[in-house]
Structures are given as structure tokens and as C-alpha cells.
């Protein structure tokens, strides 16, 4: 009997500990976000913060500790995203543990805005201090997230290498047409140095950055851009006959021709390209200022790094403006969090955006351009300095219409077709047909 009791006890322990292991590992306390929890007057309001800014977990925890020190009535628990950002976030909602504040991608805010706090309806005053980026998180006239940063992409250049090839007086800003770009890359190649690189194995980069230019301000103003997308959806647009498409493909051909990894273009990854560019092994690199995070720690990194718009057209006027967008925004959950928690979340978002410590994290540690009027920190990101300059001059190539209206799987479907083109397995007409098929297949 005693043996049976012990065996039964062990069986039940094994079973229930297995159940416990199925729970959320990041949230050991079984907290329920009910009205009763936050109604206890004088107690700390407990909120959670979920961030899709990967690779800076320790820094984020330290940052939130600083916030709690300054706001002792609010306790913030950090929920790291791991590799599977969207899946983990959806899992939190399914488990009724929706994070109070989340730093999420534009597409997520657009799709799920009905679950979020409406900054416009609640007339949050400091929203007026945001210089740019709000348009990415505005749905039907209401703002549902605060842009955390602005990131630009274009032709990054290593000025030390360019000066070695062309002399001290060389001004990269004179490269403002496609022909000028081709001539510059030809001359760099002729000098024995590697002219260009592009991370072709990143299908998301091909479709969402290079590909974004197809739908951008090159097509005209916002109305013209939307009309172009609508024609594609109805099957009324022919990309093969579109000037912007052909300009873009001519430019991609030039970049591919001068690619230092031409022999096996899909082999080299982003980290290796960043290292090569930062140390001057290659003169130019088409991508964006967020690569600073991978470059800043590279040994022997050059200091004179910058970025210009990729000149896809031979009309220099057309090439004015650096494409930039706000990739992630802070949203506050209004579906599972109480009003007290939402108010605490709003305080956290304001602190992250406007306090010196909050700005130091995004503007210095991450190295992103901050889209606010009063920026208290100096950004060490040499590439983001270019983004900042173009933003302050108002020279921004509009990619908002594409970014907000494109479905979330555009890069996943279209990116591989760009890769097939680069690998020589698809011609220009074939690529055009595949992109058109994507748009017409949308419901």
C-alpha cells in the first residue's frame, strides 16, 4: 500500500510538472490582468513590455529598471521576443497575457490596430512633437502607435576608399544619375578595388527595400503611387512597359555586374557584407543605416561612412530624396490591459521617446535616427547621420504608400523571384510577370 501511494504521488508529480512546463517560461507568476489587480489603491501598477528589437535584451532590462527608478509606482516586466517575434506575440494574446506596451512592425500595427490604444482619440499632447513617421501608424485618421525611430536605406559609401580612388576632392553627391553610378563603379573596379556589394541572399531586402523603389515617389505623389498599386491589383499595369521598373532593373544589373561576390551572389550574408564595407574591402553597399549595429564593433572600422539615395533614374531630379520609413512603433494594448495599465504604458512610451535615457537607448545604443523635435543625444551612427541630414532637409523619397499597403508576405513571395533574376534563372519579363501575378492573386 505504501509503495502504491509513493508511486501514485510520483505519477501525479510527473504529470503536473509536465503541465507546468507548458506555461509561459517568461512569466512564472500566474498573474491575471483583471480589473481587481490594478484597482488596489496605492499599489504599483504592473505592466509588461514586449520588444521586437532583437539582440539588446540586457540593455532593455537595464533601461526599464531606470524607468522604474524614476516612476516607482509602475513596475515593468520585460518580455523578450526570441527568434519568432510575431508568433510569440500572438501567443501572449492567446494566453490572455497581452503585453501592455509592444514595439512592433508597421504591418502588425496596421493589421491589428483595433486592439490598440488610440492616441488621436485620447488627444495625447506630446504627439505633436513627432517630426515624421506618424503617417505609418495612422489608420482611418487615427494614430495607433508612436514611431520609435526612422531608418533610411540607399547606397552606402566608404569615403576613405572613394578618396583613394578619385582623390580628396571627390564628392559622392555628384553621383546623381544611373549613368554616373555606373561610371563610378567602373572606375573603382578598374582601380583594383571592389566596387559594390548587395546582400542578395536576403530576399526581404531585395523585395522590401530595392523593390520598394518601384512603388515609391518615383511613380509620383501618394495618389499616383496608390493608383499604380490598384492597377497592378486589377491586372491593368504592365511592369515590362513601366519606366520605373526598367530603371530599377537597369540599376540592379549594374550593381550585380560590379558585385564583389559576383561568382556566387547568394552566398554572402549581411554580417560579412557589413564587415567588408566597414573595413573598406568594398567601396559601396546598397542597404540601410540599421547595419550600423553590425558594423560599429568591427575591428579596423573606417570612420568616413555615409549614404546617398540610390540613383535609379538618369534624370537627377527624380533621384532627389532618401527613402526612409519608421520600421517599428510603440503600441499600447487596449483589449486585455486595464485603463490604469494603459495609462502606465502611455507614461512608459512617453519616457522612451522623450527622456534622455530613453533616447540614449534608441539613438545611441541602437543608433537609429529619432523622429522627435527635441533630441537630447548625439547619434554615433555615421550612416544615420546621412538619414538625419536628408530628413532635416526634407529630402525624403516617399515609400509610405507601399510600406503601409503592401501585404505582409510581399517579400516572402516576390523576394525569391528577384533572387532568381540575379541568379540568371529568370529574365526581366519573367520577373515582371511574377510580380504582376502576386498583385492579381490578392483577394
Amino acid at each position: 500500500m505504501k509503495k502504491r501511494s509513493i508511486a501514485l504521488f510520483m505519477a501525479m508529480m510527473l504529470g503536473t510538472t509536465a503541465l507546468g512546463g507548458c506555461g509561459d517560461a517568461g512569466n512564472d507568476k500566474s498573474q491575471e490582468k483583471s480589473a481587481k489587480q490594478s484597482e488596489a489603491s496605492g499599489e504599483q501598477v504592473e505592466i509588461t513590455f514586449y520588444s521586437t528589437q532583437a539582440g539588446v535584451d540586457n540593455e532593455t532590462v537595464a533601461l526599464l529598471d531606470e524607468f522604474t527608478k524614476e516612476n516607482p509606482d509602475i513596475k515593468v516586466e520585460f518580455l523578450p521576443c526570441g527568434d519568432d517575434q510575431l508568433q510569440a506575440w500572438l501567443g501572449l494574446y492567446a494566453a490572455k497575457k497581452a503585453p501592455t506596451v509592444a514595439l512592433m512592425d508597421v504591418s502588425v500595427v496596421t493589421q491589428y490596430h483595433s486592439y490598440f490604444y488610440n492616441f488621436s482619440e485620447n488627444e495625447v499632447p506630446w504627439v505633436d512633437d513627432i517630426v515624421t513617421g506618424k503617417e505609418y501608424y495612422t489608420v482611418d485618421g487615427s494614430l495607433y502607435a508612436i514611431p520609435a525611430s526612422v531608418q533610411g536605406f540607399g547606397l552606402m559609401y566608404n569615403n576613405r576608399v572613394l578618396k583613394e580612388v578619385f582623390g580628396e576632392d571627390f564628392d559622392i553627391h555628384s553621383v546623381d544619375t544611373r549613368d554616373e553610378l555606373e561610371k563610378m563603379l567602373d572606375d573603382i573596379d578598374a582601380s583594383g578595388k571592389a566596387a559594390s556589394t548587395i546582400t542578395l541572399n536576403a530576399d526581404w531586402a531585395l523585395a522590401a527595400h530595392l523593390g520598394a523603389l518601384l512603388y515609391s515617389g518615383y511613380q509620383g505623389d501618394e495618389t499616383a503611387q496608390m493608383a499604380f498599386i490598384d492597377r497592378l491589383k486589377k491586372g491593368e499595369a504592365s511592369l515590362a512597359d513601366d519606366q520605373v521598373y526598367n530603371d530599377l532593373m537597369d540599376t540592379l544589373d549594374i550593381l550585380s555586374e560590379h558585385n564583389m561576390n559576383k561568382a556566387d551572389p547568394l552566398q554572402i550574408n549581411q554580417e560579412m557584407n557589413c564587415e567588408a564595407f566597414a573595413t573598406g574591402k568594398v567601396a559601396t553597399y546598397f542597404q540601410g543605416d540599421w547595419n550600423w549595429m553590425m558594423m560599429s564593433g568591427v575591428e579596423g572600422r573606417d570612420e568616413e561612412l555615409g549614404m546617398i539615395p540610390l540613383p535609379i533614374s538618369n534624370d537627377s531630379e527624380q533621384n532627389v530624396g532618401l527613402p526612409m520609413s519608421s520600421p517599428k512603433g510603440y503600441c499600447i494594448d487596449a483589449s486585455q490591459n486595464t485603463e490604469e495599465q494603459q495609462a502606465a504604458g502611455l507614461k512608459l512610451v512617453e519616457w522612451l521617446c522623450n527622456s534622455e535615457k530613453g533616447q540614449d537607448f534608441m539613438g545611441v545604443t541602437i543608433g537609429s535616427t529619432l523622429p522627435f523635435k527635441d533630441v537630447k543625444v548625439e547619434n554615433p551612427n555615421a550612416l544615420a547621420k546621412s538619414t538625419q541630414e536628408y530628413m532635416e532637409k526634407g529630402e525624403i523619397k516617399d515609400i509610405r504608400t507601399f510600406t503601409v499597403n503592401v501585404p505582409s508576405d510581399y517579400w516572402y513571395v516576390v523576394g525569391p523571384y528577384f533572387q532568381q533574376y540575379v541568379a540568371g534563372e529568370l529574365d526581366r519579363q519573367g520577373l515582371a510577370k511574377e510580380i504582376e501575378s502576386y498583385w492579381t492573386s490578392l483577394e
Binding site: 502504491r4 508511486a7 501514485l8 505519477a11 501525479m12 510527473l14 504529470g15 503536473t16 509536465a18 503541465l19 507548458c22 519568432d84 510575431l86 508568433q87 500572438l90 494574446y93 492567446a94 493589421q111 491589428y112 486592439y115 541572399n201 530576399d203 561568382a263 556566387d264 551572389p265 547568394l266 552566398q267 483589449s335 501585404p407 505582409s408 508576405d409 516572402y412 525569391p416 523571384y417 533572387q419 532568381q420 541568379a423 534563372e425
Partner: protein, 292 residues
């Protein structure tokens, strides 16, 4: 006596309860919930389900990418099942022969299975992208100079190699157990009767390990159709989605295309296909097993 029997029955049921609760919570409830979602349009977040009937199932059978992914997975599964089982039987024979340091070799050969699929994928990605290409360039071996992972044909071969490498080490253990149970007297009798090594293996050993064979083929079929972590880490479905096997396709439909109802329908269809194949395979294999 009757009272004891009743009490014993109750005790047995009580032992089962924790395991059944876990099984229900982790497997059965999500399974039926998933079937329900496959008949709806759902945003993945709230409790707002729009019933759409069989529309999701009709969508996937009209989706050439889904059918293509299913075909690729089938080809991959056939290749990996054959290669991994042949290697596993070979390793099993080696480890049940007169080999010095058997225990050490058994542990060493089991190591690939201990490494998680994601780490395995990244390890082999480095080997294919940089290790083999450096070897190819220095040795002037043309077919190794370019990374296999950047070619749609070779990337599938790479997947098969990695999966077989890992799976064979797991199946080896089952074959070792099966081979150890082959009566030595039968083999000795076969040798006395003039049978050679290959003949003895074919006519004595193989029939005697049919049950191990049934189990190993069943396990390898299931694992091949459900492969995800190695697929994600090694190729990510690339190049050009050419190695996007069915489990990764389901994942991308859900979390990239945000079509949760369609993804769930794909998962249900995958479950049915694997179930039918596994049941048929097990049925026909068990029919041929030698009952001692």
C-alpha cells in the same frame, strides 16, 4: 477478492489521470481546436472567428505552391528514409560486430542526434557555404567551389545529407537493439550450410529485424514530413523557396502571410497524409514480420 479488483482498477485509472490530462491539454484539445480554425477566417489574435466552410481547403488544393511543397517533401522523405535506414543498418551491424571500443563508438555515433535541429542547420550552413567552398577553391574542385545552398538542386541534396546524418544516428540505436536479438545459432547454422555473409544477412538477419525496420521506417517517414528546424536553419526554404518543405510552408502561411485558417487547413491535410502513409506502411510491414 472482488473489492480488491475494484480498488485496483481505480488505482490504475488514478495513475493514468496525470498523463491523460497532459495528453489532452497538449495534443487533443489543440488538435480539435486546430480543425475548428481550419473552417474559419481568423486574425490570429482575438476570438472573432468567421465560419467559411470548406473554402480554406479548396484554396489550398488550388494553390500550386502548396502542392509543389508537398511533392518536394515527398521526394525528400523517400530519399532520407532510404539513405538514413541504410546507413543506420550499416552502423548497427558495425556496432554489433567484434569491434573494440563499441561503447565509445555507440556514444560518438549518437551525437548528431543530440544536437538540436536549429544548431545542426546553422553548423551545416557554415560547412556548405564556407567550409566546402574553401576546400573546393583550394583544390580546384569545380562542383564544390560554389555553395550548394545557393543552387535549388544542390540545396535539396544538402537537406537530404544533413537530415540523413542526424536521423541515422537515432535509428542506429533501434537497429542495434534489433540486431542484438538475432539468434546467433541461426547465423551459425546458415554459415555451416554454406551461406556467405551477404546471403546470411539477406535471408537470416534482415527478416529477423523486420520489427525494427517497421519502427524505423515509420519514425523516419513521420520525422521527414514534419521537418521544420533543420529546414529553417539550413536553407530557410531557399534559394527561391525551392527547399520550402511542407511544415515550413504551413508556418509561412500562418506567420508570414497571416492566413491562419488556410495554414490550419494545410496542417490538417498534412496530418491526414502522414497518418495514411504511416498506417499503410506499418500494416504492410507488420504483415511480413517474422513471429518467433
Amino acid at each position: 477478492m472482488v473489492g480488491n479488483k475494484h480498488g485496483e482498477r481505480r488505482l490504475i485509472l488514478l495513475f493514468f489521470v496525470p498523463a491523460i490530462l497532459v495528453w489532452l491539454g497538449i495534443l487533443i484539445v489543440p488538435f480539435f481546436y486546430g480543425i475548428f480554425i481550419s473552417f474559419t477566417q481568423w486574425d490570429g489574435l482575438g476570438n472573432d472567428f468567421t465560419f467559411v466552410g470548406l473554402r480554406n481547403y479548396l484554396t489550398i488544393f488550388g494553390d500550386s505552391k502548396f502542392l509543389d511543397s508537398l511533392l518536394k517533401t515527398s521526394i525528400y522523405a523517400v530519399a532520407v528514409v532510404i539513405v538514413s535506414n541504410v546507413i543506420a543498418i550499416g552502423l548497427g551491424l558495425l556496432l554489433t560486430s567484434a569491434l573494440k571500443g563499441k561503447t565509445f563508438f555507440r556514444t560518438a555515433m549518437f551525437t548528431p542526434n543530440i544536437i538540436g535541429g536549429l544548431i545542426l542547420g546553422y553548423l551545416w550552413k557554415f560547412i556548405f557555404n564556407f567550409g566546402l567552398t574553401a576546400f573546393g577553391k583550394s583544390g580546384g574542385i569545380a562542383w564544390l567551389e560554389k555553395s550548394w545552398l545557393t543552387s535549388s538542386a544542390y540545396a535539396m541534396v544538402a537537406m537530404i545529407i544533413v537530415a540523413s546524418w542526424q536521423l541515422s544516428s537515432y535509428l542506429m540505436i533501434i537497429y542495434v537493439a534489433g540486431l542484438a536479438n538475432v539468434p546467433k545459432e541461426l547465423l551459425e547454422a546458415a554459415y555451416i550450410d554454406g551461406a556467405g555473409k551477404w546471403s546470411a544477412f539477406k535471408h537470416v538477419t534482415l527478416p529477423m529485424i523486420r520489427s525494427s525496420f517497421t519502427v524505423c521506417v515509420f519514425l523516419s517517414i513521420v520525422r521527414c514530413f514534419m521537418v521544420f528546424d533543420v529546414n529553417l536553419a539550413l536553407t530557410g526554404g531557399g534559394p527561391f523557396n525551392s527547399t520550402e518543405l511542407i511544415a515550413l510552408k504551413v508556418y509561412n502561411t500562418a506567420f508570414t502571410s497571416m492566413k491562419f485558417g488556410v495554414a490550419q487547413a494545410e496542417a490538417v491535410v498534412l496530418f491526414l497524409i502522414v497518418t495514411v502513409i504511416s498506417v499503410l506502411q506499418t500494416y504492410f510491414s507488420m504483415k511480413k514480420e517474422v513471429k518467433a
